[in-house]
Each structure stands twice: as C-alpha cells, then as structure tokens.
C-alpha cells in the first residue's frame, strides 16, 4: 500500500460512524453479543482478528474485537463484550434500536490464509474466544485449504463457555477437532475438567505445518505458546493477541505502547517471537 492510500484508509477508519443495535444476546452471565448495522455509511470490510473502537454516547470509547463472520455481509458487525467497567457495562446494556459510535477496523489480523495447506491449532480462554471466532469461521468457509482445524476452549465453568452453539455445530459436521475444558464443572458437565494446556500437550502435531492462534489472559497464552514450542512449532508461527488500553486506535496517542510496538497499529496480533520478550513488560 502506498503512503497516500494508507493515509486515506487511516482517515476513513478514524471517522466515527453511527451504528444501530439490531440484535442483542447474552451468551453467558457477564457477556453480551451485539449485532450492529450502519445507520448511513458502513465501516470498511474487516479481517479476522481486527477490532473496532466502540463509543457509548456520553460514557466513553473502548476497543472491542470483532466476533462476527468475516465472510458474511460486510456491513454488519458483531461484538462480544464482557461487562467489566463503565464503558463495557454501558455498551452491554445498549438495547435493540440503541445507537453506538463505531471507528475502525483497526489492527493486524490473524492472517489465517498464510496457514493454508497446514494445520490450525486455535486456543481460546474466556472471552478470548471472541476474536478467534472470525478466524474459525473464515477457515471453515474455505475448509478445503486447511488440513486439521483443532480448537481448544477453556472457561471457568460450563456456563461461561462462549459460542456453545457454534462449537457444537463445528464438531457435528466433523470440520473441527474440538476440546473443551473447564476449571469448575457442574454435576452435569460430561466434558473435560482441567486447563487448556492439557489437551494441547496431548496433540500429535506436524510442527513444520502447524500454526497456533492463541487468545486469552496473557499467562494462558504464555503457557500455551510454551507447550507449542516444546512440540517444535516455531515461535514465528505462533500468533497471540495482546491487549493494551487503546485511545486513538490510529497510532497517534501512544496509549497502547508495548516496548517498541504501538499495538493499535502493530498488533493486537503479533507472533510469539515478537511477544515473548515483551510479555514481562507491564507498561512503558
């Protein structure tokens, strides 16, 4: 991309556009998925792993990954938001018909296409599964281009597992090898009890043809990356999503700096080779 085109794209993403909530579901007790449609003009098409800045009028703006299908209607956005503070709380309680300001899409994507011909190992913990859902949907839309698609998901309890319906349909047609694991089971839970690194450690991988995609709390990504490194998957084919508070989203304010990176521009998705030395750096 030339510098001019890049500047134009950045300016377009920087414009806040009004979107209307057309659907609101609550996949777990503390998350909400909003489906948004543009009131007038739509933001540009997004890639799996990118995020938008969502503005709750009068409250504030935060970065939220896109959890919808990147191969679907380009103008519709889906976001899965966990209520943890003022802005996420206000966004989560926006009802159908309510308005949200949208800027983006921003950031690097998972670049799943570069793993074509190989095996995908996708590990998501907690709300970390949200940015991974578009990646899985993109891979399934082009299933013939990949060999194995392994998805490992972890949560506190069975009721906290995101996208349960999706996960069941992924395994039903055999497209995905799914391992779900929880920390605290309910008496009815028939699945695994343990941490995501355990099913990961049992996988027989072809390391030269495997790409890992990890998203969740940073210690979880670190442990999973180490498990993949032990299986000889190279660090530059392990991708992780790093979150730091975002403000401008367009590499101007410096809020999202981590070491030499501005994560709104150079991230949030980076290779583990890049991330590893920075993961101990809390802020700079």
């Amino acid at each position: 991309m030339s510098a001019d085109v890049q500047a134009q794209a950045a300016a377009a993403s920087d414009t806040m556009l009004p979107y209307r909530v057309v659907r609101r579901t609550a996949p777990t007790h503390d998350t909400v998925t909003l489906t948004l449609e543009p009131v007038r003009r739509a933001a540009g098409r997004f890639r799996a792993g990118q995020f938008m800045m969502l503005y709750s009028f009068g409250v504030g703006e935060i970065a939220i990954s896109i959890s919808g299908d990147p191969t679907g209607r380009g103008d519709v956005l889906e976001h899965t938001i966990r209520k943890v503070g003022a802005v996420s709380g206000a966004l989560s309680s926006t009802g159908v018909g309510g308005l949200v300001g949208v800027r983006g899409p921003f950031g690097t994507g998972w670049d799943v296409e570069s793993a074509a011909g190989g095996d995908l190992v996708v590990v998501g913990g907690g709300v970390g599964l949200a940015p991974l859902r578009p990646l899985v949907l993109a891979a399934l839309a082009d299933r013939g281009s990949y060999r194995r698609v392994v998805v490992i998901t972890g949560a506190r309890t069975p009721a906290d597992l995101l996208f349960a319906g999706d996960q069941e349909s992924w395994v039903r047609d055999g497209s995905v090898e799914l391992h779900r694991t929880v920390d605290h089971p309910s008496p009815q839970w028939p699945g695994r009890v343990g941490f995501v690194t355990e099913p990961l450690a049992q996988l027989h991988l072809d390391p030269a043809r495997t790409t890992g995609f990890l998203c969740g709390p940073e210690p979880m990504m670190r442990f999973c990356a180490q498990a993949l490194l032990r299986k000889n998957v190279p660090g530059d084919r392990i991708r992780v999503s790093l979150e730091r508070t975002m403000e401008c989203g367009v590499a101007r304010c410096g809020h999202c700096q981590l070491g030499p990176l501005l994560l709104c521009r150079d991230g949030p998705i980076v290779t583990y080779t890049v991330a590893e030395p920075l993961l101990g750096v809390r802020e700079l």
């Binding site: 943890v84 210690p219 442990f223």
Partner: protein
C-alpha cells in the same frame, strides 16, 4: 500385551527410545473398564498405574457433607496414578470412568523391579513421569490462578490481606 509402537503414541513417553518402550510394553497389560466404573478408591493401597488409550476418567475427592468433587479429568494419552511412586503408597484421589475406557495397566512392583534392575532405564522412566507430573502441576497452578475471572473481583480481593493474586509465580 501392548507393543512398543502402541506406547510410542503417548506424548508423555516420547523421551523413551524404542528399546525402553519395548521393555515397558512387556510389563503392561491391556484392560478395559465400562462407564461409571470406580478404578481407584481414595485412601486404598496404590499398587498400579494406567496409560489411558481411549475414554475419559474423572479424578474426585470425598468431602464430607457434599457429593464427591471432580477435580480433574484424564483423557486418551494421560497417565493415571502417581501415588505408587512414593510412601505411603495410598491413593490421594478417587478415579471414576465417565465413559468406557481402554488403558494399559502396569503394576508398581513390576515397574519398580525393572527400574532397580536397570538404573538407566529407571532414570529415563522417572524423568518422563516427572515431566508429565510437572506439566500437570503447572496446569493445576494455572487453574488455581483463576485466570478467566473478572478482574474487578481481583481488585476487591487485592485490598484484603493474605488473598491470592492473578499471576502464577
């Protein structure tokens, strides 16, 4: 009797060479358990261990006044049973199959005998077991850190003296 090739499929044993796997295979026998079968009773004598080939087993603990608590599940590729390695040779947790299970069973007296006869084999086997145990310890620590919990709850607990934090050491 299982073969060395059968055992080579276990990630936990990948550091053993084919001679060692052959030696271990000759000490094992294939077993099958139906669903809802209690393989291990907490507190009883620990004289065996199993490599799970298929199916799922839950490890549980008895807590008075409550139903047994499931603390972990084990699946294909996992090793069940560590307590035979160290005194007092008693099971610390119970183990119940949640679905039919195929496994390779070893009795601890035979394994201990093999390790004593060939200390090099013994060291390699114990190192492989140690690696598996370390992985399980780390996974358990990660679960204890309760990583997926709402960070707002951590901020409240951080103000209370003597409470845990999110990071593992």
């Amino acid at each position: 009797m299982p073969t060395a090739e059968d055992l080579s499929g276990f990630a936990n044993l990948e550091t053993l060479d084919s001679d060692d796997l052959g030696k271990l295979a000759r000490a094992g026998r294939e077993v099958s358990f139906p669903a809802a079968y209690r393989v291990i009773q907490e507190g009883q004598r620990a004289d065996r261990c199993w490599l799970i080939r298929s199916g799922r087993i839950s490890l549980d603990a008895q807590v008075s006044g409550r139903d047994d608590i499931v603390v972990q599940t084990l699946d294909a590729g996992d090793l069940l049973g560590w307590s035979w390695l160290v005194p007092p040779y008693r099971w610390h947790f119970g183990a119940l199959t949640t679905e039919p299970v195929d496994a390779v069973e070893f009795d601890s007296a035979t394994l201990t005998g093999l390790c004593e006869d060939d200390p090099r084999f013994g060291r390699d086997l114990i190192l492989a077991l140690f690696e598996a145990l370390l992985a399980r310890l780390q996974a358990t620590r990660a679960r204890l850190a309760d990583l997926y919990r709402d960070p707002a709850e951590f901020r409240v607990s951080a103000q209370l003296p003597g409470t845990a934090t999110a990071e593992t050491p």
